[in-house]
Amino acid sequence: MLKTIIAREFLNNILNLRFMIGLVLCIIVTIACIMILAHDYQQELADYNRRVNLQDEFLSNYATRGRMFRMIPQQKPPERFRPLIIGISGNENSKSFDDNPLPILFPSLDFLFIVTIIMSLLAILFSYDAVTGERQRGTLRLVISNSISRTTILFGKFIGGTASLLIPFILALLVGVLYISINPVIQWDSSAWAEFGLLTAASITFITLFYLLGLMVSAFSKYSAISILNCLFLWVLLILVIPNVCPYISAQLRRVPSIRETQRQEEEIEQADNEVKRQRRKAVVSKFRGDYGGLFSKLESLGFGGILDDEIGDKEKVEELAAADPDFKAMVDAFRREIDRAWLESQGVRKDAIKKLWGDLNTKAAAQTRLAKNLACISPFANFVYVARDLTGTGLRSLEYFDRAKAEHYQRFWRHVYKKERDAKKNDPTFRENSSFLDLGDYPRFVFKEEALKDKLGEILPYWGILVLFNVVFFVAAFAGFMRYDVR
């Protein structure tokens, strides 16, 4: 009997106007979206290559230590899922005077939009009258008057309805997959296809959730007109309101210090530290004046041999004198040690203070983000967005992962630079650290590798679990409602 109910529900739906509209809309939007985004991906790839070439060109022409840090080669390539989902950009763009603010006014259209807006709305339209419609037409009474349990009817409606709802989605997705697989620019490996499979499964979980929401509301309503209004009310709250309000609420509940204020405090710490350093140097100089008298005056007259300041001071003359006079050499060495010790002590305090300052800001910002993320979990929309974005490397996690990869490469890069400098110094005594050209033709290139799927799963499974939980809750509620439903 279950099979018959599934078949009837399925046929009823696919012969309906909403199925035709849903099918046409899904296929057209998905194909248009994938084609445009694939072209966009191609352009972004070209832009990425251009940036990498610019950096290579720079490093082969102008690589000196003083300038290198401004051109360190860590460019992020476009995400491999870019033809489907537009990733969120890092913060580096927001500091530029010239930027493109259009996406703030109009968020871009991608696969996430198709699932979260079009498919969820379609799911509600498929199920809002699953019970009420039949009651109004009188068919529910007829069906129940036979020996069919209500559980079987509800299961049949769920399976048949979901199957008919997923046809437009799966068909559209298949066409999209075909386009991706024949496009020579898009190179997906097995892990990308596995992620795509999981993305499809997560999307189905999300779509069935809204089908069940409609079924639940229908099982608690008497008329289809009321059922659809209630469904749309819930849809608006869950999709359009809760996720958007949560970051703002969390910003009120967990305040984060101002970035500019933190920068100002950092400048204050630096100024105070410079003053401390000056005082300490002064103290060391007075001590040496008292201890060494005339010998120290000789060093003083040579601008301290550059020990106090790298640029000023006659280094060569001091070295010459030190080579001739062992007492002078011992004093210079002791003076250098004392100055270095004073500098290092102060530097340590300064570094700790600045680290604490920014650490505090980052901790508070992370707490605010965490709160917003958790608050938004009451909406299935947010949970699905987290799952889909983290799975495809287009979300917050991918930004953090990129930062980690960047930091690792940064260290590798500088180790290479230091090694090159040491070699250069050995071969060329006139080599100067900050201004001499360094041949960096063989520097370690930054190759961004997507995070492994198993690492991502740990992050996405809880959110996916919440989506499944929503499914279960809505189904149980629909079941409870239908069991008590007055079919007359």
Partner: protein, 416 residues
């Protein structure tokens, strides 16, 4: 007769479940939105005070957030960054305070503009989708027309009565929210702002009327309210989400624009070449020679920025032209321009910043202290003067089109 129909429609609506649920939803949302965005405005003001106090030898430009951002946030966060002149004519923008919480990038600001654009437009469509076909289903349409009632009177009465019952609660909710905002000591609304808010509400009514008329048109083209509902929802999805969002990425395919990262890399290269040329190669040369080199690099830098901005302006234009076929996009552009948080203001501010930075760069310190940057957001007249009402005309056109369509369809409607 028209009065009776209007009264009947208003009463019908007031007593319906649809009215209760839509009114509850829109009132709660509008009040929550205004409160949330008001708190956000207070944070933006605090941030502005901190940015304003920044002391620097380089010229710094920062403008305060507008209280109208509570209603239409638009690009206000971008506009209220501080811009600092750097070496070689470069301008650096400060980080946005919200960049600390990346979740803001995933979701949209829930301001009044968003509520009207997305949620109230849906409500307007839901209000109107069964005006004609619903009456046909319950049989009252046949009865009404069996009397000496003319069809034009009936359709006009239905539209006016339905729209009044929909729009009045919206005004009450907005009024409550506005009272809350104006009573707050943090918000200082001047006459200009009131004018702009008034115009914004007027445009909002026009926009909502478009969706109401659309619902009516679909209702006149269908014979069952369930079909009307399905068609209405899909057309709403296409107009509110699909066209504006797809049009934006489509415009990017038509106008090639480099990414900001590429632009910044090129700028960095120019700066490095400048340092090598002026501070190392020409170090021993005379000042006029070095000044010439500086000018050359400044020009190169300016040309790079100019090229980017020209392309970007073209992109905005193409994007506007494509997305204007959606009333939601026309409304967004129009509303943000009126409130001083849109593309118009962004372009105007950037032009003013560039001009000021150039002026500050040429300033002779012997003349005394450099005058501070002064900036007034576009006045009411300026907004109207710069062809700013073209989007408004598009909304009127949509209204006329949908209403005329509904009128014609209703004249040919089979009421049996």
């Amino acid at each position: 007769m028209l009065k009776s129909i209007i009264r009947k429609e208003i009463l019908n609506n007031l007593l319906s479940y649809k009215f209760s649920i839509i009114i509850i939803l829109s009132t709660i949302l509008i009040l929550v939105s205004i409160f949330v965005m008001y708190r956000d405005y207070c944070l933006a003001l605090e941030n502005y005070e901190i940015l304003r106090r920044t002391k620097s030898d380089d010229p710094v430009v920062v403008i305060p957030p507008t209280p109208l951002g509570i209603f239409a946030k638009g690009l206000d966060e971008n506009l209220c960054r501080s811009y600092e002149g750097g070496s070689g004519g470069r301008i650096n923008a400060s980080s946005k305070q919200k960049s600390l919480n990346n979740l803001f990038k995933l979701f949209t600001a829930p301001d009044l503009l968003y509520i009207i654009k997305v949620i109230l437009s849906l409500c307007a469509t839901l209000f109107a989708f069964d005006i004609v076909c619903g009456e046909k289903e319950i049989g009252t349409l046949r009865q009404s027309l069996s009397n000496s009632l003319k069809r034009p009177i009936l359709i006009i009465g239905e539209w006016v009565g339905g729209f009044i019952s929909f729009i009045l609660p919206f005004f009450i909710a907005v009024l409550l929210g506005t009272i809350f905002v104006t009573l707050s000591p943090m918000v200082d609304m001047n006459a200009q702002n009131w004018e702009k808010l008034g115009l914004f509400l007027l445009i909002s009514v026009l926009y909502l009327a478009v969706f109401f008329s659309l619902g009516l048109l679909i209702s006149c083209l269908t014979h069952q309210s369930s079909s009307s509902l399905v068609v209405s929802l899909f057309v709403w999805t296409i107009l509110v989400f699909l066209i504006p969002n797809l049009g934006n990425i489509l415009a990017r395919q038509l106008v090639r624009i480099p990414t900001v990262q590429q632009l910044e890399l090129k700028r960095e290269q120019i700066q490095i070449r400048r340092e090598l040329e002026v501070y190392e190669r020409l170090r021993t040369r005379t000042w006029p020679e070095r000044r010439e080199a500086h000018k050359r690099f400044n020009l190169e830098n300016e040309m790079l920025g100019e090229d980017y901005r020209n392309r970007f302006n073209r992109l905005v234009k193409v994007s506007q032209n494509i997305t204007r076929i959606s009333p939601a996009a026309a409304f967004t552009f129009q509303a943000t321009d009126i409130m001083g948080t849109g593309m118009l203001e962004e372009r105007r501010l950037k032009r003013a910043v560039l001009k000021y930075m150039q002026f500050a760069g040429d300033w002779d310190d012997e003349k005394g202290n450099r005058p501070a940057f002064r900036y007034q957001r576009s006045s009411f007249r300026e907004v109207l003067g710069q062809g700013g009402l073209s989007n408004c005309l598009i909304l009127i056109l949509f209204n006329v089109l949908f209403l005329a369509g509904a009128y014609v369809a209703f004249l040919r409607y089979d009421v049996r």
